[in-house]
Amino acid sequence: MSDPVGSRAEPDSLQLFGAVLLGEHSLDELLDLVVVLARRTVAGADGVSVTLSREGTMLTSNFSDDVVRELDSVQYKARHGPCVDATRTQRMVRISLDGDGSYPEFSRAAQQRFMTAVMSAPLTTPQQGLGALNFYSASVERFADDQAEMASLYAGQASILLANAIAYANSTNLNAALREALTTRELIGEAKGILMAREGCSRDEAFDLLRIMSQHSNRKLRTIAEELVESVQRHD
């Protein structure tokens, strides 16, 4: 029998995702939203966490409670478990902790914390794997097929939201870095101009002077340029 809570929650969650304006929320806030809505969406999910993977390293970024965070950590240390395999293979992993022989080390740790079932759905886009959305239950023996489908659908929508949020954050970071680079470039240009006037040298030779001062003092060229410009301004 399909679960009424899951059926009711699905459109609400998807509508909420559609209403999110990326610039108004941090990535962390969006991940918190993903966790909160995941618990409401999948029947039997008593705890939810998000595994994010970057360059082969996995971490739990957001979680509903400390127990699920600890159980994620057990898997990262053992290098296997539902969330690790879902992240690596980008396929859903669903296990019952009573009688399912897979992941003995993790299963023991989960049972000690009164968990009975675990399911990890991959967070992925056509371009990249992002990680996994992990559902822990202390109330069902095994997540039902319809709830696994629900989790998969939800994780797909969450993946799109997160991929867009990451792209937005990267673009914002790039703009900020470019603004900072332009400021540094102007400062160094000013310092080169001072050296050209004083030394009667070319622009390239002025750069050579700055970089050798950086080399001999073990300080960044920007710092050298900044001090030079400030010292000249003080003497004017």
Partner: protein, 99 residues
């Protein structure tokens, strides 16, 4: 200095300090570099050659990353070191010793 500390190519240096793509180009651009990201990538891959000056701006960007790793300017520059400044330049920070 061991081989693992002294990279034998710009590409190896980029890997060692984990500076690539846009991030690398922005560091280079900030120091006054004028090459496009594509030309910079070609120079690093040795499929094109930038001027010695542009190469040295790139080397400076990489050396500053090495500096943050407590490695003192391991990459050498293409242009020769300039003579010491003609004037004493008292306001200049840490003037280099005469060669």
């Amino acid at each position: 200095m061991t081989d693992s500390i002294l990279p034998n190519s710009l590409a190896a240096a980029c890997d060692q300090v984990q500076l690539h793509g846009w991030e690398l180009w922005i560091e280079y651009f900030a120091l006054g570099g004028n090459a496009t990201p594509r030309d910079l990538a070609r120079h690093i891959a040795r499929t094109a050659t930038l001027s010695d000056h542009e190469n040295d701006v790139l080397v400076q960007a990489l050396n500053e990353r090495f500096l943050a790793m407590d490695l003192d300017h391991p990459l050498s520059y293409a242009r020769p070191d300039p003579p010491a400044p003609r004037s004493p330049l008292p306001p200049l920070p840490s003037p280099p010793p005469a060669p």
